[in-house]
């Protein structure tokens, strides 16, 4: 029913989509995947009619809905056919309350008031947000906002739903809620869905077909299990499947688990529970670089943190997990010194960071905020680096050197806004590290990074820890935590609900377990561990 025929899209200097053909059938869920910055959002924009109207560039080929070309039809005239939900729904909300937001699209279509009332009620029930109907949109949690955003386009009864990274900002549980809602739409209403997502492990199990967009703008479309055999991006479960030589590849944890008997016998016992800390990279344990005792931080009457205890040890990476709004950011900013402790103590390098002057704070901790772009304000990367050197009174070239190590090959004359997500993050990290803080705090650094990008970031953080820094990473990404962290702290409602070495914490809570753990059981965290174990067993057995 919906087709892209031979679509080519280019900006003046580069080709984004190269002769793309894609057909989406009635009631089908198609997953669009590909490395960062390859043009997934552009493809979705073409479908919705927003590209090239809002981006410039030239588009050739044809977009066909039910046999009629809609290439010349602007997005607003496609609104009753295609429902488009972009990244970052809060930026898209037009009205204040949930009900009005759901009705906005229908008002534009000119539906009768009774129809609107009925559809609003149906949609509220369908998405399970009936109790939020009068709430202010800004007070909703991330998962709720995402569901309202989906609902706001569903009310016009579109035939095709286009979702751009619907779960990238959500904690694992909220992401599952949203995806369950989407699958329900596909099953119950027969809506077709085209969804772009970085974290394949979340969506692949639900996808009917996979559309892989590669460098150069070429697509490959087909059965997910078939395509993922050699795709450049692969969720851990697929990597595990490739390693074990399973064919067809398992896409769900359940499928994989049923085939593990043979693999388990080859693997033997799980690795040493404390390999990283005592390993060659970990220095001898010293006293903690940062210490938090019984910390209570309150904005207004409701405390954002209650009785939190935390030690950050030099040479280790600590993962900080928890729902949206569980107090992760508050904890980071308390360590940085912006938030005062209502009760309890925060000590970084022996000092209370809140009492320090800003310059001294920067020498104690480096914090990379959720949107690294907030830090950047100059025209070129080189200027940003030079300004960072001056501020930190560091030797000229310190920041540029750090950047070259973290993300080699960035053009110093480029504009910071033109960098990819990963490069921009690297620039922000370099800037805060120029002051040489022994403690590094990162808030959601993996947003918008693909698997290779996350691997690279994990490597960088491990290196920084190996130099004797204490690193604290707040993130929703369980796979990333499994890769990078030695310890995990899980917050809920501002309280620490579990903390300790990754292996123990992850084994205790299914919501935060990475796929490898889910498949092979406690003790196994990462695919590279499995690979190492297989290699040793292969050496021993013959």
């Amino acid at each position: 029913m919906f087709e892209l025929r031979d679509v080519t899209f280019r900006y003046d200097d580069r080709l984004v989509l190269d002769h793309v053909d894609l057909a989406i059938d009635h009631g089908e869920l198609v997953l669009l995947a590909g490395p960062t910055g390859v043009g997934k959002s552009t493809l979705l924009g073409v479908v919705a009619g927003l590209v090239p109207a809002f981006t410039g560039g030239t588009l050739t080929g044809d977009v066909v809905i039910d046999g009629a070309s809609v290439l010349e039809v602007p997005a607003r005239e496609r609104a009753h056919l295609v429902g488009y939900v972009g990244q970052n729904p809060p930026a898209w909300f037009v009205t204040d309350t949930v009900e009005e937001e759901l009705a906005f699209g229908m008002e534009q279509l000119g539906l009768a008031a009774p129809t609107m009332r009925r559809r609003v009620e149906e949609t509220l029930d369908l998405l399970g947000i009936a109790d939020l109907r009068h709430r202010d949109l800004r007070t909703l949690s991330g998962g709720q906002q995402q569901r309202v955003a989906i609902g706001s386009v569903l009310t016009t009864h579109p035939r095709l739903l286009v979702l751009d990274e619907p779960t990238s900002a959500l904690d694992p549980t909220a992401a599952e809620d949203v995806l369950a809602t989407v699958t329900r739409l596909v099953h119950d209403l027969g809506v077709s869905v085209l969804v772009a997502e970085h974290r394949l492990e979340r969506v692949v199990p639900f996808a009917d077909r996979l559309c892989l967009l590669g460098e150069g703008g070429r697509v490959r479309v087909g059965d997910p299990a078939g395509l993922l055999v050699d795709a450049p991006i692969a969720p851990p479960i697929v990597e595990l499947g490739r390693l074990a030589g399973w064919s067809p590849l398992p896409l769900t944890v359940r499928d994989a688990r049923r085939r593990t008997a043979e693999l388990r016998s080859r693997l033997g016992t799980p690795p040493d529970p404390l390999p990283v800390e005592t390993g060659p990279t970990g220095p001898v344990r010293r006293g903690p670089a940062a210490e938090v005792r019984n910390l209570v931080v309150a904005h207004g009457p409701v405390p954002a943190l209650r009785d939190v205890d935390l030690d950050l040890v030099p040479g280790t990476v600590t993962g900080l997990m928890g729902r949206n709004g569980a107090g992760k950011s508050t904890l980071l900013w308390s360590l940085q010194g912006r938030h005062a402790a209502t009760r309890g103590t925060v000590r970084v390098g022996g000092d209370d960071p809140h009492r320090l002057r800003p310059e001294a704070r920067r020498r104690h901790t480096g914090l990379v905020p959720q949107s690294p772009a907030d830090l950047l304000y100059l025209e070129t990367v080189a200027e940003e680096c030079a300004a960072a050197d001056r501020t930190a009174s560091a030797a000229v070239g310190t920041c540029a050197g750090l950047l070259e190590r973290l993300a080699p090959g960035i053009d110093p004359a480029g504009h910071p806004r033109d960098l990819s997500e990963g490069q921009r993050l690297a620039l922000a990290v370099s800037i805060v590290l120029t002051a040489g803080p022994p403690v590094l705090l990162l808030d959601e650094p993996t947003r918008g990074l693909d698997y290779p990008g996350k691997h690279a970031l994990a490597g960088i953080l491990r290196d920084l820890a190996a130099e004797g820094r204490a690193v604290l990473v707040a993130t929703h990404d369980v796979e990333f935590v499994a890769q990078v962290a030695d310890d995990v702290v899980v917050l809920a409602e501002g309280e620490v609900v579990s903390s300790g070495p990754v292996r123990e914490v992850v084994a205790e809570s299914p919501a935060f377990a990475p796929q490898v753990t889910k498949v092979l059981g406690p003790g196994w965290l990462r695919v590279d561990e499995v690979a190492a174990a297989l290699a040793t067993s292969a050496e021993v057995s013959p």
């Binding site: 602007p74 997005a75 930026a91 008031a113």
Partner: protein
């Protein structure tokens, strides 16, 4: 029992404008005080629990500030009146070209009283507007615009929404910039705040525009080219007519034939344009505001206050503008006229709040079981 609902925003604005007109007709402190009491009681009795409802306190403070500033100003430049001198301040001599103006000087009781009366009138006016703001969300008022103005209305609503977002983004960027330190100069410091905030704002507005477009905002209706041209022509003719008419009306040297006739033609053309534009608009409203009899009563009560005080100004100027020498006089008619403004407290339906919303809608879980029984 009166069902909880939101009154039509235009009704509240009519009521408030009536009060404001009334306030501008008098300087009698008793009448003004009574007006203030009427406005305050009505706001506290009838406002909902939305954020804008709390803005009334702000207007009260603003009113107080206006009053104080007014008195201080009079203290500064008033002062050579005869009367009961309260504070004998030295007069600062001014050069000849400022003749007629005096700085400081003796401050008399009569002057104080006059300043308070005038200040009170101004603050009452302000507070009446504040009452309307607290009782009827300005966004809802804009949504009641005629269909032809729908798009402008939506744009203005969005513009209002942007302000809190800008404040959020400013807070975030300030905190983030603390993390790297550096230039603290006035210009450079401002630049490092403004660049990320503006970039953020531009990105946001572009994505909002894309989002609104994707959701059908600005769909052209089924109007033919001819209809669109007629509408456009009528609108332009209307604008021209009103423009020329107002100019000729204000400029007494312009030929009279341009004044009233042009104004009339312009208004008629503009109205016709509105109607044809509104007819081709295919938009509808979710939960449209309904104008019910109660709305007439509320709007009428406010307008009655205005009319009553205007009548007092005309027939009983001593009550409307009492002298500063004695205790201001009052008349029963004037008092009753002002008291009409409190009628909404008794007739207006209770506002929608989280509490009575919960009372209206029972728990969804209990519903099916009752059906089953």
């Amino acid at each position: 029992m009166r069902l909880a609902r939101d009154l039509h925003p235009v009704a509240w604005w009519c009521w408030a404008v009536g009060l404001a007109v009334g306030a501008s007709c008098t300087t009698n402190p008793f009448l003004l005080g009574l007006l203030l009491v009427v406005a305050t009681i009505t706001v506290f009795a009838c406002r909902g629990d939305q954020p804008w409802a709390r803005s009334f306190r702000l207007y009260l403070w603003l009113g107080l500030i206006v009053l104080v500033v007014r008195v201080l100003f009079r203290l500064l430049v008033g002062g050579n009146d005869a009367g009961h001198v309260l504070v004998a301040l030295p007069e600062i001599p001014l050069p000849d070209w400022a003749a007629g103006v005096s700085l400081l000087g003796p401050f008399s009781r009569e002057e104080l009283v006059a300043a308070v009366y005038e200040g009170l009138r101004l603050s009452t006016l302000l507070i009446a507007v504040g009452a309307a703001n607290a009782l009827a969300n300005p966004k809802r008022l804009m949504r009641s615009l005629p269909p032809a103005l729908y798009e402008i209305g939506t744009a203005m609503v969005v513009a209002i929404t942007v302000i809190p977002q800008l404040a959020d983004s400013a807070r975030r960027v300030r905190a983030a910039q603390q993390l790297r330190g550096g230039d603290r100069g006035r210009v450079r410091g401002l630049r490092r705040l403004l660049v990320p905030i503006l970039e953020d704002a531009f990105e946001r507005s572009l994505s909002l525009a894309a989002g609104m477009d994707a959701r059908g905002y600005g769909r052209s209706g089924t109007a033919t080219v001819g209809q669109r041209r007629t509408t456009g022509a009528l609108m332009i003719l209307g604008l021209l007519g009103v423009g020329v008419g107002v100019y000729a009306f204000l400029d007494s040297t312009a030929p009279r034939v341009l004044a009233w006739p042009m104004l009339a033609v312009g208004v008629v053309a503009a109205l016709a344009g509105f109607v044809t534009a509104g007819r081709r608009v295919e938009r509808t409203r979710y939960r449209p505001e309904r104008w019910q009899p109660i709305e007439f009563v509320v709007a009428g009560s406010g307008l009655a206050v205005g009319a009553a005080l205007w009548a007092v100004l005309h027939w009983d100027p001593l009550v409307a503008h009492p002298g500063v020498l004695g205790v201001p006089a009052l008349s029963l008619g004037a008092l009753l006229g002002v008291l009409v403004g409190v009628v909404p407290v008794f007739v207006a339906p209770p506002p929608l709040t989280a509490q009575n919303r919960a009372a209206i809608a029972p728990e969804p879980t209990s519903e099916p079981s009752r059906v089953a029984v």
